[in-house]
């Protein structure tokens, strides 16, 4: 492993967005092998951050910084990675949003970053999004999975409404649909017939892995 790959890993692990972006730009300029850049560099960093988080060494802010550093590298590399010549294969397309009436989106943003880091193409529509907008965007992007988050007890009902909207448009089977947020539970996901629920960003990646082939 070259020293530059170590530096890429370190940039992500330490959550240094600027360094990660610079290293990604350098990697492109130097025509480094993208598969190596990802697998031996940036991805190693986010994977190690995940391990440290699981071990209790990393707290939430550490994970957010690592995920954002990973995102800043991916933003530079995105176009090249998507080319068949890169040797990188997207694991699937994911669309995320926070329910209408709910302006909280820290948790969902972390889930998005970790999914991106895990190799998914993630589109994040942000907070306070009507279900109709989400479904129309899902159709436009041809996503595999929709994730809808709600922090408030009053907005988690939108998750049930989303299922009803998908049913009414005969689109329920077209997408996998997962839910999250502080008041949401496995039971709620079962009650509304969602495809799954995860209570943190790491388990959200495992959940999406299990749903998107």
């Amino acid at each position: 492993m070259g020293p530059q790959f170590d530096e890429m890993k370190r940039a992500v692990l330490e959550g240094d967005e600027d360094l990660a972006r610079e290293l990604a730009i350098e990697a492109l300029a130097s025509h480094l092998d993208l598969k190596q850049v990802m697998n031996e560099g940036f991805l190693k960093g986010i994977q190690e951050a995940g391990v440290l988080y699981e071990q209790g060494e990393y707290f939430l802010p550490d994970l957010v910084c690592s995920a954002d550093a990973m995102k800043s590298a991916l933003k530079v590399l995105d176009e090249e990675i998507k080319k068949p010549t890169s040797g990188m294969v997207s694991k699937g397309k994911v669309l995320l949003a926070t329910a209408q009436g709910d302006v909280h989106d820290i948790g969902k943003t972390i889930v998005g970053a970790m999914l991106t880091a895990a190799g998914y193409e993630v589109t994040d529509l942000g907070p306070d999004v009507p279900n109709e907008t989400i479904l129309s965007k899902a159709d436009e992007l041809q996503v595999d999975l929709i994730g809808l988050s709600a922090l408030l007890t009053t907005t988690m009902e939108e998750q049930r409404n989303m299922i009803e909207l998908m049913n009414s448009q005969n689109q329920r089977l077209k997408y996998k649909f997962i839910v999250g947020g502080a008041p949401v539970t496995h039971t709620w996901a079962d009650v509304i017939s969602a495809d799954g629920y995860a209570d943190d960003a790491i388990s959200a990646v495992c959940l999406v892995d299990s749903l998107v082939e």
Binding site: Y53, G56, F59, L60, P61, G101, V103, H104, I106, G107, I110, L152, T153, T154, E157, N161, A182, P183, W188, V191, D199, D200
Partner: protein
């Protein structure tokens, strides 16, 4: 003197206020509505129209604090339960917008229903220090747009005390007015009696929610008391340090005071907070932590500094069930607020970071709060409590049991009378079936729910309220 507790020296309070003013003047607050921004600009705020941010001056804050009343009464449909602010003791409130209920018959956890709110209201009616009722959970069996008002309506039927709730949209106001008019008869009485108040949460960091803001500005015009209730959490929606998170919460609360005093000068304001910390790994909001109640005490002090009545989130726990952790955390988050002199402690009856209602916990928490209040009342040094003559009379040896002052004193406020604590001998305790606080509370809850209501609404008024509830249900 009374026993007291404080976290800030007067100089530190000044520093927090200055820091809050720096935030209001230099960073500003988002008010996502052009009409509101115009109102703020007309009254001295500097507006960034693109970002919908208003920078609020010291003069505006001083003016708002001057027009906000320092004393008022939260009325109740039974006037005997009227609650005057500020209060000499820390009264109690449930905590709103929970999700689950523990079934009093089976103990099973399930999504909350309207019946759970009715049951909570009946139990709360029996709690002497319980003066303000915020419907504790969201009724999952009601249409989603009606849940706040359905909870408030059923609380009005089953509890004769002051009702407090959130109003999230102006569309809810006609129904609310219908409920209040059914009970009080006229808009004039609604203004005067103030049997209903609203909880208004700012959105951390430094934002107001448009729909809730506009709805609450309309209610201000009706002189409905407003509890301003910021909720920033250290390190996620607020800065990591308790000091600056308090300063930011204080800035958000002051911005709401300014807003509602501009909307309607003289609107009664209750200064509050439900700020806290997060689980550093998962980000879950933590309520039962010492760092949460320290911030509550800090905001109690800031409210008192401004001369405003206070309602502070307290008697809280992150435990998932009644038991040792719940009691430990609830004592920890009640006593400091009681000693700081919060007018209302808001949170009894809820578990799991205020997500789960337990009817038994309402009674257990009332006991905790009663004990804490006794601590606050301290040791009275007065001529009435000066028993020197008894000492002279008894002298050496003997006992004080037959002293007239002892017999009277045993019935006085010198001693707190527990309602749930076990103080029996071991043999007596065994003979009673080895009860614990929870089993005793469960027995009392079942008795309360089986009994006739003590302060029922007249049937014709109850029928009017039920008709409004049906209309809300139909319209969704």
């Amino acid at each position: 003197m009374k026993m007291n507790g404080q976290v800030f020296s007067p100089a530190e309070q000044d520093l927090v206020h200055k820091k809050s003013m720096d935030i209001l003047e230099n960073v500003g607050i988002a008010f996502p509505d052009e009409g509101t921004l115009s109102l703020l600009e007309k009254n001295g705020a500097s507006i960034d129209w693109d970002r919908q941010v208003a920078k609020i001056s010291r003069e505006m804050v001083d003016h708002a604090l001057a027009t906000a009343p320092k004393e008022f009464t939260l009325g109740a449909r039974n006037p005997a339960n009227d609650f005057a602010l500020p209060s000499a003791y820390s009264a109690l409130n449930l905590d709103g917008t929970g999700v689950y209920a523990l079934d009093p018959s089976t103990g099973d956890k399930r999504y909350g229903k309207l019946q759970d709110i009715s049951n909570a209201a009946k139990v709360f009616e029996t709690v002497p220090m319980g003066k303000v009722l915020w419907p504790p959970i969201v009724a999952s069996d009601c249409p989603s747009g009606t849940r706040n008002l359905m909870g408030a309506a059923t609380s009005m039927i089953h509890c004769s005390k002051h009702i407090q709730d959130e109003v999230k949209d102006v569309k809810e106001i006609p129904f609310l007015m219908g409920l209040l008019t059914a009970i009080l008869g006229s808009e004039k009485s609604i203004r005067e009696r103030k049997i209903y108040s609203v909880t208004y949460c700012t959105v951390a960091p430094l934002m107001h929610d448009k729909d809730m803001m506009l709805a609450n500005m309309e209610l201000a015009k009706l002189q409905v008391p407003i509890l301003v209730y910021p909720m920033p959490a250290c390190g996620s929606t607020g800065p990591f340090s308790l000091y600056t998170n308090v300063a930011m919460a204080n800035a958000e609360a002051l911005s709401a005071v300014v807003l509602f005093q501009l909307a309607s000068p003289g609107t009664p304001i209750i200064f509050g907070t439900a700020q806290g910390i997060i689980h550093r790994k998962t980000g879950l909001f933590l309520e039962g932590a010492p760092e949460t109640v320290l911030q509550g005490v800090a905001m109690t002090e800031m409210g008192k500094r401004y001369g405003l009545p206070t309602t502070i989130a307290g008697c809280l726990t992150d435990a998932k069930e009644p038991g040792m952790q719940a009691v430990l955390e609830k004592v920890l988050t009640t006593l400091p607020l009681s000693l700081a002199g919060a007018d209302v402690i808001q949170g009894i009856g809820l578990l799991e970071s205020s997500m789960t209602l337990s009817l038994e916990q309402i009674l257990i928490d009332a006991e905790i709060a009663g004990l804490c209040q006794r601590m606050r009342d301290g040791i009275e040094v007065s001529s009435e409590k000066d028993c020197y003559n008894d000492v002279v009379s008894v002298g050496q040896g003997g006992h004080f049991l037959k002293q007239p002052s002892t017999r009277a004193g045993f019935r006085s406020n010198e001693f707190y009378t527990p309602t749930l604590l076990d103080r029996d001998s071991y043999d007596e305790w065994c003979a009673l079936g080895s009860p614990n606080m929870f089993t005793e509370a469960n027995k009392k809850v079942k008795g309360i729910l089986a009994a006739e209501p003590s302060n029922p609404l007249p049937l014709n008024i109850e029928m009017q309220i039920r008709e409004i509830m049906e209309e809300m249900r139909r319209k969704g």
